[in-house]
């Protein structure tokens, strides 16, 4: 069996993305690797309650200027797309928190005056909870770049497993970094005008990456049907609708996932997983 990597995303925060990701992992009848890639605010651990036993630092190369060799020509500041350097008459200032470690400055410095230092940008913590191998990334406060942490987390993905990834909210670079290489993207949305707007934007990203996807409508009521119409028109399967439910909401507030508050939901989440596995298996046979 090959890996099945499912990324759970939403155009915006607050749609219940993390709850859905947690419920899927808890409903699976097999070992799951769970990656919480919302590195600015990882919170899946609240629901999954893993015992975190390992910790690993993620660091980046940043420039270090040797002022004895530097001619203060200004090249490095000119080429840095991230404005992480400023060259004065007799000093080069570096702003490590802005550096994306592209290597441009030390490659192009005509005097070979730039060497590298390591700067820690975050941590990867891992551990387990029942059938779940859990990993979360934590970005150090004040750091501009989360993709390197996400990249490092994705390197921990093991072969032959079901991988569930909780993406950061939104549709910016870290989200794209998270989605890349996934077999399926599950978009979680709410049946509101705002939810629909964010769903449409998220869908564009997924379509550009050319990854099969489906939708879960959270806190659904029958009042607002435009999300479903949108899905139908865009050939986007609605894999599950989670109805507005007091018991789920109350449990959520206490950090209890929906599948524990309402165990019968497990069967619905399993159906979603089976659907996704079917789709990804089909993709493999038709495309490869």
């Amino acid at each position: 069996m090959e890996n099945t990597i499912i990324t759970i995303a939403s155009g915006k925060g607050g749609t219940g993305k993390t709850t859905v990701a947690s419920c899927l992992a808890m409903s699976a009848r097999q070992t799951v690797q769970f990656l919480d890639c919302d590195v600015e605010e990882p919170n899946a651990h609240i629901f999954l309650k893993p015992r975190l036993t390992r910790e690993e630092a993620v660091s980046l190369d940043i420039p270090h200027v040797d002022h004895n060799k530097c001619s203060f020509c200004g090249r490095c500041a000119e080429i840095c797309m991230f404005n992480a350097l400023a060259v004065l008459a007799d000093e080069v200032l570096t702003f490590p928190e802005l550096c994306h470690s592209c290597g441009g400055c030390w490659t192009l410095c005509p005097e070979k005056a730039i060497t590298t230092n390591r700067r820690e940008i975050g941590l990867i913590k891992s551990g387990s909870a029942e059938n779940i191998h859990f990993t979360q990334g934590e970005l150090q406060v004040g750091t501009a770049t989360s993709p390197p942490i996400i990249k490092a987390m994705k390197k921990t993905i093991q072969k032959n497993s079901l991988v569930i990834i909780d993406a950061p909210p939104g549709t910016s670079c870290p989200v794209v970094e998270t989605m890349e290489g996934s077999d399926f993207v599950l978009l979680v949305t709410e049946p509101t005008a705002m939810g629909l707007n964010d769903l449409a934007i998220a869908l564009q990203v997924v379509r550009v990456l050319d990854i099969p996807c489906g939708v879960i409508i959270n806190r659904g009521t029958d009042v607002y049907s435009k999300v479903e119409t949108f899905c139908r028109e865009n050939n986007l399967p609605v894999l599950m609708k989670i109805a507005v439910d007091r018991a789920i909401a109350e449990a959520y507030a206490m950090g209890i996932p929906a599948v524990e508050a309402k165990p019968e939901l497990r069967e619905d989440f399993r159906k979603v997983l089976n659907h996704i596995k079917g789709v990804t298996a089909g993709e493999r046979t038709c495309c490869h």
Binding site: G13, N83, A84, A86, L88, L93, G142, A144, P169
Partner: protein
Amino acid sequence: MQIAICSNNHDLNSQVDERFGRCAYFVVVDEMGNLLKAVSNSSLNSPQGAGIAAAQLLINNQVDTVLTGRMGPKAMKPLQAAGIDIYTGISGTVEQTLDLFLKGSLTQLKTANSPKHGGSLPAEGRA
């Protein structure tokens, strides 16, 4: 003396712009009120570090003084290291602001008066 004034356009009658890193032009004048040049702020739309790039631009243009409204700590660092004086409290046109400066009505800025991110990008919604 070269005095750079943050503005949304390129002449003496242009309105000033309080944002240091995100203003469209730095109108450079001397203390006699002569227009020396207008430097267009090429880093205006940088997703990050616009203030640093703007500071670099002014350093490269050898200005002595900057008149602005708000400045963050990152932009301030290179300007201070280069010995450029920073004044805040600009308003009206470039010409009016120069008058305020020459009358001594602007306040010299020694520490940043704008948060770390002067950026104009909307914040992402959070879970």
